[in-house]
């Protein structure tokens, strides 16, 4: 009886013992605000016969993962600061770092309580008891948001009502669920959200300079593949996809 159980167990576990077939795809860590656009870009890329596996998250978390040894091939960050973190650890492949995209901030409100601002100062309205932004200590969207609010002289009035979230999409989710009364996210995030609407879009000239850089990670075991994907992100096919989601190509 015991031998039968053992034999059955071995038969079940044999494939795992053999080792699963190696995943040929490269791993790309990308800022969470790129989730939807990247998925479509990857689909277009896969038609060239190459696969991509994504790891989306707040750029500061992704940078930390890479510095701690995560086996990532390409990193696309929502700001230069987090890319610098990886660079400072000596983990960027020399010469591969390129600025890819531009974006703009926007203020989101719950879809069932829409509002359109005539000026950004309306965010100081006491009706907005909780304003969600990415943690301004390190999440790029939060850093940009705080810089913008400080530039407009609104930070002191808003600061006590800020709810820092782990990522820009968490801030968006807070507004979608009604837990927050407003959120400062990217305009590209609100576009893909069915439950949040735009109250105010920060123009490129008023807002902080938002740049999404991309680079190949030095420890990659697929440098050629990684570079090919990074080049693809700058191709006209990819640029058209990003523009459709509201990003602007870096000029």
């Amino acid at each position: 009886m015991i031998y039968r159980v053992l034999a059955l167990g071995l038969a079940v576990l044999w494939p795992a013992v053999q080792g699963a077939p190696a995943d040929e795809r490269i791993t790309v860590s990308a800022a969470v605000s790129l989730t939807d656009a990247m998925a479509e870009a990857a689909e277009a890329y896969s038609r060239t016969g190459h696969g991509v596996r994504f790891n989306f998250g707040a750029s500061n978390v992704l940078a930390r993962q890479i510095v701690s040894g995560a086996p990532v091939d390409v990193f696309v960050s929502a700001d230069e600061v987090q890319m610098d973190v990886v660079a400072a650890a000596g983990l960027l492949k020399a010469g591969s770092r390129v600025p890819l995209l531009r974006n703009q901030l926007a203020i989101a409100v719950p879809g069932d309580r829409p509002r359109t601002f005539r000026s950004v100062r309306e965010i100081a309205d006491p009706a907005f008891k909780r304003i969600a932004i990415g943690d301004p200590a390190a999440v790029p969207a939060g850093v940009y948001a705080k810089a913008y609010l400080q530039k407009e002289g609104l930070w002191p009035a808003i600061e006590a009502r800020i709810v820092p979230t782990g990522s820009v999409r968490a801030a968006l989710a807070a507004v979608e669920s009604g837990a927050a009364d407003a959120a400062i996210v990217y305009r590209t995030d609100i576009r893909v959200s069915p439950k949040a609407t735009v109250a105010w879009t920060v123009s490129a000239s008023d807002g902080p300079r938002i740049v999404y850089p991309g680079a190949v990670i030095g420890t990659t075991k697929a440098a050629g593949e990684a570079q090919r994907f990074l080049d693809f992100l700058r191709s006209s096919v990819a640029i058209r996809i990003f523009e459709r989601f509201g990003f602007t190509p870096y000029q």
Binding site: V163, P164, A174, A179
Partner: protein
């Protein structure tokens, strides 16, 4: 200093949560130990649920109930009571996660009390409430206290449910564990490490106390 502010806030919330669950928890523990009633197994199961479910899942359930669009949340909003993303949500999350530990530990204590004493008191005319207050509770006291300390320690370390329903707002809902996570995520390792040491120290103290109390009750 930020560390002491966070520590003080966490300890205060954990104490409030423990105080909140103590009366109902002890009564529930005694009922489960000494009384058979319809739905007993169901109640037992529900009370133990937060112990077994992933804390974030418990937190998500709380968030769905208490957010503006939730069943309870809508009522609270009309009454002008804010719970999510305030210290009240922190205390609530801690209370729910600590309740099973209190009930299970206290129940074991009540079960250890020699039932003969309770029966003798009943034959002498004592009401169930009087038996509970003058015989069962005093005899099971070390276990009840141990349960309270465990619930307190669990409340101090609570993370998943807290971050779901209360977020990580500095000065308002940032507890010890949530702060450690936040500092680690934003690369502030020195702060994370200091808070880590504080939580280890508190946890050790709490567990040591709880174990001593359980030993004393078994002696």
């Amino acid at each position: 200093m930020e560390i002491w502010r966070i520590t003080w806030f966490t300890v205060a919330c954990a104490a409030a949560a423990t105080a909140l669950i103590l009366p109902p928890g002890v009564v529930l523990a005694w009922l489960l130990a000494r009384r058979k009633f319809p739905g007993r197994v169901l109640i037992e199961t529900f009370v133990s649920l937060p112990l077994v479910m992933p804390p974030v899942a418990t937190g998500l359930i709380l968030l769905m109930l208490l957010s503006r669009r939730g069943t309870l949340g809508g009522v609270l909003e009309r009454l002008g009571i804010e719970v999510v993303f305030t210290w009240k949500a922190v205390v609530l999350a801690m209370a729910i996660m600590g309740l099973p530990l209190l009930v299970r530990t206290a129940r074991a204590g009540f079960e250890q009390v020699n039932a003969r004493y309770e029966r003798v008191a009943a034959t002498l005319g004592a009401s169930p409430a009087r038996i509970f207050l003058t015989i069962s509770l005093p005899l099971a006291w070390p276990s009840v206290l141990a349960g309270a300390v465990l619930a307190f320690a669990r409340a101090l370390g609570e993370f998943g449910a807290t971050i779901m329903v209360a977020g990580s707002i500095p000065g308002a809902t940032r507890t010890l564990s949530v702060a450690i996570y936040g500092y680690a995520e934003t690369g502030q390792d020195a702060m994370a490490l200091e808070l880590l040491l504080v939580s280890v120290a508190i946890a050790l103290a709490a567990l040591w106390t709880a174990n001593r109390l359980v030993e004393r009750s078994a002696a």
